[in-house]
């Protein structure tokens, strides 16, 4: 006899309360990041120079800015998922753990947000 309620069995979330959500999101973002980061890396190294006008003209192209926003966005989310597990593994004590996880989340919103904001600012002109 199982003591699990029919509802619990249907939801399939287990004791961690979020089922396979974290694991799956990490894989989906990993797959998306293969082409995105390769594009970003190769595109950047293919530029004739890394001076202001060259980089700005490149990033202002609609294709570049769109893909760059996707890259920074997915990268931030993937990094958040990964380093959250690292903090959960190594930071002990409930208070410190919650505080670290919250700080981590704030930092990702700040740095990911700043990166995306900067790309949009270049794309739409200032």
């Amino acid at each position: 006899m199982s003591l699990r309620s029919p509802l619990g069995r249907v939801l399939g979330l287990g004791s961690a309360k979020d089922g396979t959500g974290h694991w799956w999101a990490q894989r989906v973002t990993a797959v998306a990041l293969v082409p995105l980061t390769l594009w970003f890396f190769i595109a950047l190294l293919s530029l004739p120079a890394l001076d202001y006008s060259t980089v700005k003209a490149w990033l202002a192209l609609p294709v570049s800015s769109f893909l760059a926003v996707l890259t920074v966005g997915v990268l931030t989310y993937h990094a958040y998922l990964g380093t959250t597990v690292v903090v959960e593994d190594y930071v002990h004590g409930a208070g410190l753990k919650v505080a670290s996880l919250m700080l981590l989340r704030f930092l990702y919103v700040v740095f990911g947000g700043a990166g995306i904001f900067a790309i949009l600012r270049v794309a739409f002109g200032s």
């Binding site: 894989r27 990993a30 797959v31 990041l33 293969v34 980061t37 390769l38 890396f41 190294l45 120079a49 890394l50 001076d51 202001y52 980089v55 700005k56 990033l59 920074v72 990268l75 931030t76 990094a79 990964g82 380093t83 690292v86 990702y108 740095f111 990911g112 700043a114 990166g115 904001f117 900067a118 790309i119 600012r121 270049v122 200032s126």
Partner: protein
């Protein structure tokens, strides 16, 4: 209560060091390093949005000898995490668990990352000096 021999997690001090655990630790370490790289990427993009002066300032900071060392480290981390990440995705799909494919793919990830890092470094250095 009977004492049962329950499975334990590896004891770090007596655990025999091998390729698998080294590459696993390296995957996590490079992932954490790349997360810090996001801060540098964000800083660089913000400097670009700030105009010519702020971009030139940022490029001076980012091309200092110490920064170049970091950029080299991030480049290696990027290639290794990418190659080893694909290795993990193949495992997730249910393939490559046997000893030989596991070791071969592991060495491909490491040597591929070293070669691609050297290639990217040479490419940038060549572009900067020609």
């Amino acid at each position: 209560m009977p004492v049962r021999a329950r499975p334990l997690s590896p004891h770090v001090l007596i655990y025999r060091w091998q390729l698998g655990n080294t590459l696993s630790i390296l995957h996590r370490a490079t992932g954490v390093a790349l997360a810090f790289g996001l801060v540098a990427l964000s800083y660089w993009l913000m400097s670009l949005a700030g105009g010519q002066d702020s971009y030139d300032d940022a490029m001076r900071v980012l091309t200092s000898p110490l920064s170049l060392l970091f950029l080299l480290g991030w480049t290696f981390s990027f290639w290794y995490h990418l190659l080893n990440g694909v290795r993990h995705l193949v495992w997730d799909a249910g393939y490559g668990f046997e000893r030989t494919p596991r070791h071969v793919s592991g060495w491909i990830a490491v040597s591929g990352a070293v070669l691609l890092t050297a290639g990217a470094g040479f490419w940038v250095w060549h572009g900067a000096t020609s």
